[in-house]
Symmetry: C2
Subunit: 401 residues, 2 copies
């Protein structure tokens, strides 16, 4: 018997009526004699509303309780979807993250899945139940309720599929993975398939469909991930092992990160220890640092630029203030109207000249960039956000995306 994990996001379960449509989709799959696990997010904007009310209660809500509060969002949606399935005559059971055995570690509001005790889910599947699991949540070794941060429900779904050795279907409000975000470029092409590596670069570099961490888990455990619209039956995109037929494309996609915060530290008294200290502090505060560039130290002082997200500004500022207190000569420059543009393609491993071609395009079109970083299958640039649209047009035209 086939087993499948399906995941439905918040906009798909926004109302009871939408949940009924999802229930029908779930039932259609169940009717194919499939053992089915359904992961759902909180209804619509519930999580944001819960965060808002937490902020009314406290300017800095205790994170353990913030997790407890946010987890109610998925608890409501799994209970309701399960009631609907039961009423339609398809025995279903709702499991919170903790009940589904999802063990997590890390700090509250940004936990990571450590392992899943999958036995309970399997027992219910063997009893022919549709198992409806709360996305985004788990429990830690203290028995506290935890949440998984951004993209947490996708992570839950892919991790469950990894444990069950099956495919994971992510149903969302977009109908697949595009070479460029169709909200930014309306002629973008939908991809039939994309490799995990490309998707990871696309996701971490700003494609909003899937978070890197869930693709990473899929890659590590060989879980085929299918991304498609929760409405209708249009074909979506498979994220899967790299396949040589994909190599004909030099670039698979272009992705944009907005709300990038670029920090430049000028005149830092140079020692590896000083630099390490700053980035260790940032890591401990779970601030994700993305691009880092440093120029060679001159006369004992170094200049460093790095990027993170505007959301983490207050955590970053606290750490930078410590640094300034220690080294008053450091000049800190923060720029927050920054976008990051990345081109991604497995083909770049074997086809040279992509970087050169893009530098030419920038020069021809008067686009200034601030930082450049490269990986084996991607090149990323930070630019002033005012150049964003122009950059998208120039690159998509040149590479036929």
């Amino acid at each position: 018997m086939r087993t499948t994990v399906q995941k439905y996001g918040g906009s798909s379960v926004e109302t009871i009526d939408k949940m009924r449509l999802i229930a029908d989709k779930v039932i259609a799959e169940k009717e194919k004699d499939t053992q089915l696990v359904v992961v759902v997010s909180a209804m619509g904007k519930t999580t944001n509303q819960l965060i808002d009310i937490a902020r009314q209660a406290s300017s800095a809500p205790s994170k353990r309780e913030l997790d407890m509060l946010m987890s109610t969002g998925e608890q409501v949606s799994i209970a309701l979807l399960t009631m609907i399935l039961n009423e339609k005559g398809y025995p279903a059971i709702a499991l919170t993250g903790s009940q589904a055995g999802i063990k997590t570690g890390g700090i509250h509001t940004k936990n990571k899945i450590l392992d899943i005790d999958i036995d309970k889910v399997k027992t219910h599947l063997d009893n022919d139940k549709i198992v409806v699991v709360a996305g985004f949540q788990g429990f830690n070794e203290d028995g506290d309720i935890t949440t998984l941060g951004r993209g947490g429900s996708d992570t839950t779904a892919v991790a469950l599929a990894a444990k069950l050795g099956c495919t994971c279907e992510i149903y969302t409000d977009v109908d697949g993975i595009y070479s460029v975000d169709p909200r930014l470029y309306k002629n973008a092409k939908k991809l039939d398939q994309i490799s995990y590596e490309e998707m990871k670069e696309m996701a971490s570099l700003g494609a909003k469909v899937m978070e890197t961490r869930s693709v990473e888990i899929g890659h590590r455990f060989g879980v085929p991930i299918y991304v498609a619209s929760s409405l209708g039956n249009m074909p979506g995109t498979y994220i899967k092992e790299y396949d040589e037929t994909m190599e004909q494309r030099s670039i698979t996609g272009l992705s944009i990160s907005e709300n990038v915060l670029m920090i430049t530290l000028n005149h830092v008294p140079y020692s590896s220890a000083n630099i390490a200290h700053v980035f260790t502090r940032l890591a401990k505060a779970e601030v994700l640092v993305d691009m880092i560039s440093q120029t060679s130290p001159v006369e004992g002082y170094a200049n460093i630029s790095f990027t993170t997200m505007v959301d983490d500004k207050s955590a970053v500022d606290e750490i930078l203030n410590e640094l300034k207190a220690k080294f008053p000569e450091v000049e800190v420059q923060e720029e927050d109207a920054i976008s990051k543009v990345s081109v991604v393609g497995m083909g770049m491993r074997t086809q040279s000249g992509v970087a050169a071609k893009i530098f030419e395009l920038f020069a021809e079109n008067g686009i200034d960039f601030k930082q450049v970083t490269t990986s084996e299958i991607s090149i990323s640039y930070t630019i002033d956000s005012k150049y964003k649209q122009k950059t998208i047009e120039v690159i998509t035209n040149a590479f036929d995306l």
Copy 2:
């Protein structure tokens, strides 16, 4: 060090602003060097709203999931109150029913507390935390989330106090226990103290302040219960062991149950087995049967009247339909405009004549009653609801309540 359990109901934690007032009250007690457990209900009408949305999802929501859904109400309020306490500088920790070790048994939506694994709560108290516990909920042996039905949060609070061997303070929207519900009779007198026995009769007979089950637990484990207003500092009422000074009163209180459903079965083929069958079925469906009266069987047929609540009508009807299918000669009469009036007093054990005096009052004032039952410390009458107000006035005047 003193330990106290405080419980705040839904109307006391209806908004963040009200929660801040409650937090101040909690802190004032904590400042007296008290180890403090705070039990809270869901905010305002949240539980009813959750039930409404469940009914939108399904006409007969699966009860396991209904429990899961309803339990989110308290989970939200404990998280928020704890955030407020933490922000005010008083370390607090929120525990769901399951995290607080509240083990339950029975059927979903009407569970009973079997035991509390109190160690976790004690550890947090010993670490000087204010422990904020979700009322109304626990978990069963399958690890499912359960709820405790009506008055569940009071039950949680008193059961925790029993385990901790301390006093339980119930803060609510009334300022104590009155001889008659002040909403029904505005000159009613507030009692300084009342015995568990009287309170149990008052509660089960319709006084809306405390449910019997929580008073029963208090009685069994000798937990002093203090009932007072969540606002202001007016003295409330102690519910405690019987004390001879209480005996001067022949009647302590008068209570009214409204929404009583009275069922009369005429012409039931008489056998103990038939009668037992009906009441066993009612018990299994967790329909609370209150007054039962049967006249002596005539020519092999019996007449029986019993009362329950109008809320349970659909469950009752299902069982009565089975009975009618089996014995077509049974005539079923249902009356739902019925009130039950009860007078309660430990003094009735030693003072005779209360029953006689009330029969006289009824006769003088033209009040017809349908059923009468007596216990050692109470007498109850069912009357047509149209006599309710008159009955209250006549009895309160005669007994100076």
